[in-house]
């Protein structure tokens, strides 16, 4: 089993390298960092621009393969290069990674847990009003794009705060820099509420649909009947025998959902003014910042494949039939 996971890990590392390289190529060939220097008043001499761009490894006059080699050489030693205006990509990423990870990790776990619970619950109550209601709600939520959902949530919260008379739930920013210690921590949590909800709602809807189907497949199987025949309560039989078995296929969706999650994070961060990786991606595309775009893509690839690896581990832990091979 360990060998199997190790091999999956090795394959994932190769996949990250390929994904990041392709993303760099795409960014390096289509983006034009030179534009940021050319239009200036007073005009900057071309030689100076070239020298600056050369220094940042952004010069479009250098063949893209050569730029790629320089970039890749840096990445291997842990240096992601310079931003369009000479800042360190590493430093910028360091500031932002935790912001995004915090949001996405909590969002993913919450989405997974609540989604599975809602799905299982609605499977057990198949065709009852509550089941149909959650079904309709899930599809409505899945149909609303994240940026609309997030905006609606922000507006609703603003109105709620107006109604209550003070800021009950924070709807913008990541924390209040004026606070410190325990208050600061509570304040950070408060800021987390809205973005987490807007991120995880889609996931909950998604997982609940899948989990409901998987659970329904399992519910009518003989082993649930056997569990009840030995004297377990219906509830216990459902949770211990049915849910446990129905979780296996859902765990494989973990990886796919993470990709969607990152797309959501881009909008959510922008809307709630969080300075995370998602917001950075949008900014750096605007600024033709090749190295930053490559770095964010690298981060995304690592996250997605990390999630894929995690779902492999999860499936192996849940399903003894996989463990044997």
């Amino acid at each position: 089993m360990g060998k199997y996971l190790l091999r999956r890990l090795a394959i994932n590392v190769i996949l990250v390298a390929i994904a990041a390289s392709l993303a760099y190529m795409l960014a390096a060939t289509t983006m034009n960092p030179r534009a940021a220097y050319e239009g200036r008043q007073p005009p900057v001499p071309e030689a100076t621009i070239d020298a600056t761009l050369n220094e940042y490894n952004l010069n479009d006059k250098v063949p893209v393969i050569q730029r790629y080699a320089t970039w890749a050489g840096g990445v291997i030693t842990g240096d992601f290069g310079k931003t369009w205006n000479g800042g360190s990509v590493n430093a910028e990423a360091g500031r932002r990674i935790m912001v995004s990870l915090r949001l996405m990790l909590i969002g993913t776990l919450l989405g997974f847990a609540v989604g599975v619970a809602v799905g299982a619950w609605s499977a057990v109550r198949q065709y009852k009003l509550s089941d149909r209601l959650t079904g309709v709600l899930s599809f409505v939520i899945m149909a609303i794009p994240v940026f609309v959902l997030a905006t609606l949530l922000a507006i609703a919260t603003y109105n709620l705060n107006q109604g209550v008379g003070h800021t009950l739930i924070e709807y913008t920013g990541e924390y209040n820099p004026k606070l410190a210690g325990w208050d600061q921590f509570v304040n950070r949590l408060n800021h987390l509420i809205l973005p987490t909800i807007s991120l995880s709602l889609g996931l909950i809807a998604y997982y609940s649909r899948i989990q409901r189907n998987m659970m329904l497949d399992v519910l009518n199987q003989d082993f649930v009947r056997t569990a009840m025949a030995k004297g377990l309560r219906r509830r216990t039989a459902l949770i211990k025998h049915a849910l446990r078995t129905a979780l296996i296929p859902v765990a494989t969706y973990f990886a796919f959902a993470f990709g969607t999650m990152f797309t959501g994070a881009i909008f959510t961060e922008s809307i709630f003014s969080w300075h995370g990786m998602g917001a950075w991606l949008v900014d750096s595309i605007h600024q033709n910042d090749v190295n930053s775009v490559a770095a964010v893509t690298f981060f995304t690839a690592v996250c997605v494949l990390g999630a894929a690896f995690l779902s492999d581990v999860l499936v192996a832990a849940l399903d003894p039939r996989v463990r044997v091979n």
Binding site: D222, F223, A229, K230, G231, L318, P320, R321
Partner: protein, 689 residues
């Protein structure tokens, strides 16, 4: 006093479908009650209703009393104290009946811990003890295995272990051996008897197999269309049935000790529970029907000797001493012209000569590498003469299906030769292969899956004709439908409008469309109910005689084989163990495997079943990827066990090949120490005279 008292139990599903319509029975301590009936007769629903395990939308009424306590309408808190403690249940399919993600040991320990206040390690120890009791080797180790790591027979043993974990008063067994091979079935039934002795429980045994019931039950309840139609002591039911349905059922079973000749089929199909006929539900199929039968449904009324019968003519049957063979019309099957010629002078339609089919065992996802070989078919030699039926029998995994596939493919085999109608499959070109397919057709096992549900029956039958370039097919289709006992107007309907037996007839009509000379039958009746099965077997027999066909017949039911086949080849792990005429092989089996196989088949005859001595085989079929050296059967062979050390050496070192036995024309066995013995006592009369 009765442990369980069921009275007037009815179960209705939404849409007014009455699955069970008034069932009453009682079970005493240590008694085995057999409930028999065909699919859809409501026998399983009855037992689920007793356990309170039916889905919520089922309406249950009547009364189910355990030790005098009413179970129907009891709330869950009380019911869970009874389920698995006082009443346990053993289900049909032991693979899906275990949760795949927990170990067998954990699941048995769970059953212990639900009802007894014991520590985790104590419960685990008890689970190991129980596994040991039901005869699982290395129970300590096997308790940690997952369900998919167990074979079918071992899973059913584990299921029994789980059911008796809390020393129940009543065991309900729902088709406990239906999914198993006969030798494994014999083992499991033996375990079940041990379990009963161990617990002293009463048993309710539900099955469609009248042989199993004959050996196990003390009393029998026969169900038809959701209602009991006859009830009484097992000997009375088997030797003196007084309800025409029971009589027909007993007469329609092919028997391994029976005579040849046509079987007695019950015409028609069981009624759908949504549309029951007025009056007696069996009346439309009953040859003894009178006008009064349509007026009112007869109730189950007491009859002499503690019996109950639901038939208005029961006394008449008793009085005249009628049997199934008297009442039900026995079809007349014309004899075959071909077989008048001696076998040696007839043409050979199929010849397999040392045919081999191995499958590589691969490992790895991207870079595949060979880690072993599955010896699915490892050198078999047989031939079929014109107008003859050769049956290929053996347990699952012995290579029957692989042999069939290899023949049907008409491709060069990996080793040996396949000669169909004089043409070597290795020398065929595309056109020759296409042409040969006309003469070689197949009927499949599962009539539900073998027909395209979106195609009208007429098109299904016409398809092979059109594929071979026939334009005007209408007349031929009508002729074929009539040939298999269906009506020409059935051509417009779709497969789902037909019952299982009728669908199998459609499958046969399709196979006959091109007027083949050799028909391959892959378990053609194993998915059908007994009363339907007899009709299809008769049809096959009749077609063979009328059309001069030859059959290669694959089956695991040796009783059916005895009726249909002329010669039989017994396969074990990809090799032929014994081959010869049916009379020779059945009456004087020489290979220990054939002997065990024949002795494992339960006979629908309580008297014989009680006195019969079984040859029980140990363990399961070894993996065909790693067959034992020398004789493949030696690991389970009862004969090998009693041989001397010197004699055994030969079994281990030298693989026996089929050798003709001295005093028979057509009989060979692959055993170094072959010795003919009689396993089945021939019975002349099946019912009282």
């Amino acid at each position: 006093m009765s442990i369980l008292e069921v009275s007037d139990l009815t179960v209705t599903f939404p849409g007014g479908i009455q699955a069970v319509r008034g069932v009453s029975y009682g079970v005493e301590r240590g008694e085995v009650l057999g409930i028999v009936g065909e699919s859809g007769s409501g026998k399983s629903v009855t037992s689920l209703a007793v356990m309170g395990l039916l889905p919520n939308n089922a309406q249950v009424s009547g009364s189910v009393k355990l030790h005098g306590r009413e179970l129907l309408g009891m709330d869950e808190e009380e019911l869970i104290k009874i389920r698995g403690k006082s009443i346990s249940m053993i289900f049909q399919d032991p693979l899906s009946a275990f949760t795949p993600v927990f170990t067998i040991g954990d699941q048995i320990a769970e059953a212990v811990r639900v009802h007894q206040k014991v520590a985790k390690d104590k419960a685990a120890k008890r689970a190991v003890e129980l596994l040991d009791l039901v005869g699982i080797p290395n129970p300590n180790l096997r308790a940690k295995a997952f369900p998919h790591e167990f074979s079918g027979g071992m899973r059913q043993r584990a299921m029994i272990a789980m059911a008796i974990a809390n020393d129940p008063d009543l065991l309900i067994c729902d088709e406990p051996t239906t999914a198993l091979d006969v030798t494994i079935q014999a083992q499991v039934l033996e375990v079940l008897k041990t379990a009963q002795q161990e617990t002293g429980a009463g048993i309710v045994m539900i099955t469609h197999d009248l042989g199993v019931i004959a050996g196990m039950a003390d009393r029998v309840l026969v169900m038809y269309a959701g209602k009991p139609v006859e009830q009484g002591p097992v000997d009375d039911i088997y030797y003196r049935p007084r309800m025409p349905y029971t009589m027909g059922l007993l007469a329609s079973i092919p028997r391994i000790d029976g005579e040849e000749g046509p079987l007695v089929p019950i015409e028609g199909n069981p009624p759908s529970p949504a549309a029951l006929p007025p009056g007696c539900p069996f009346a439309p199929r009953c040859p003894m029907k009178v006008d009064m039968c349509d007026d009112e449904e007869p109730s189950l009324t007491p009859f002499a000797g503690g019996r109950h019968v639901a038939c208005i003519r029961a006394h008449e049957i008793e009085h005249k001493g009628l049997t199934g063979a008297d009442v039900f019309p026995v079809p007349v099957i014309p004899p075959s012209d071909v077989v008048r010629v001696p076998r040696t002078e007839r043409a050979t339609v199929l010849e397999l000569d040392d045919m081999i089919r191995h499958y590589p065992l691969m490992k790895g996802a991207v870079l595949k590498r060979r880690v072993g070989t599955v010896y699915a078919v490892d050198g078999i030699t047989l031939d079929i003469a014109e107008g003859e039926t050769l049956a290929l029998v053996g347990e699952s995994g012995c290579g029957k299906t692989t042999t069939l596939q290899q023949i049907m493919q008409l491709q060069p085999p990996q080793g040996g030769r396949v000669v169909v109608l004089g043409k070597d499959s290795a020398k065929l070109d595309r056109a020759g292969r296409q042409a040969l397919r006309r003469d070689l057709q197949i009927v499949f096992q599962d009539p539900m899956a073998a027909l395209d549900p979106r195609m009208p029956v007429g098109d299904i039958i016409a398809e092979p004709l059109r594929a071979h370039g026939k334009k005007d097919v209408r007349a031929k289709v009508e002729e074929l439908l009539q040939l298999v006992g269906l009506a020409p107007e059935h051509a417009e309907r779709y497969p789902q409008q037909f019952s299982g037996g009728q669908r199998q007839r459609i499958g046969i009509a399709r196979a006959l469309a091109l007027e083949p000379r050799l028909l391959v039958l892959d378990e053609p009746v194993s998915a059908l109910d007994v009363s339907i099965q007899a009709g299809v077997i008769n049809l096959l027999e009749e077609l063979k005689n009328r059309l001069g066909l030859s059959y290669l017949f694959v089956a695991h039911d040796l009783a059916v084989v005895r009726h249909l086949a002329d010669r039989v080849a017994v396969m074990y792990l990809g090799r032929i163990a014994e081959i010869g005429t049916v009379e020779n092989v059945y009456d004087h089996p020489a290979h220990p495997y054939t002997q065990a196989l024949l002795s494992a088949i339960p006979l629908p005859d309580p008297e014989l079943e009680r006195t019969r001595k079984r040859i029980l085989l140990e363990g399961d079929l070894p993996s065909p990827a790693d067959p034992p050296s020398g004789c493949r059967f030696r690991t389970r062979c009862p004969k090998f066990a009693v041989l001397s050390e010197a004699e055994r050496r030969r079994c281990v070192d030298e693989e026996p090949s089929v050798a003709r036995l001295a005093n028979a024309v057509d009989h060979g066995a692959a055993c170094h120490y072959a010795e003919e013995i009689e396993v089945i006592t021939a019975s002349d009369d099946q019912e009282e005279k």
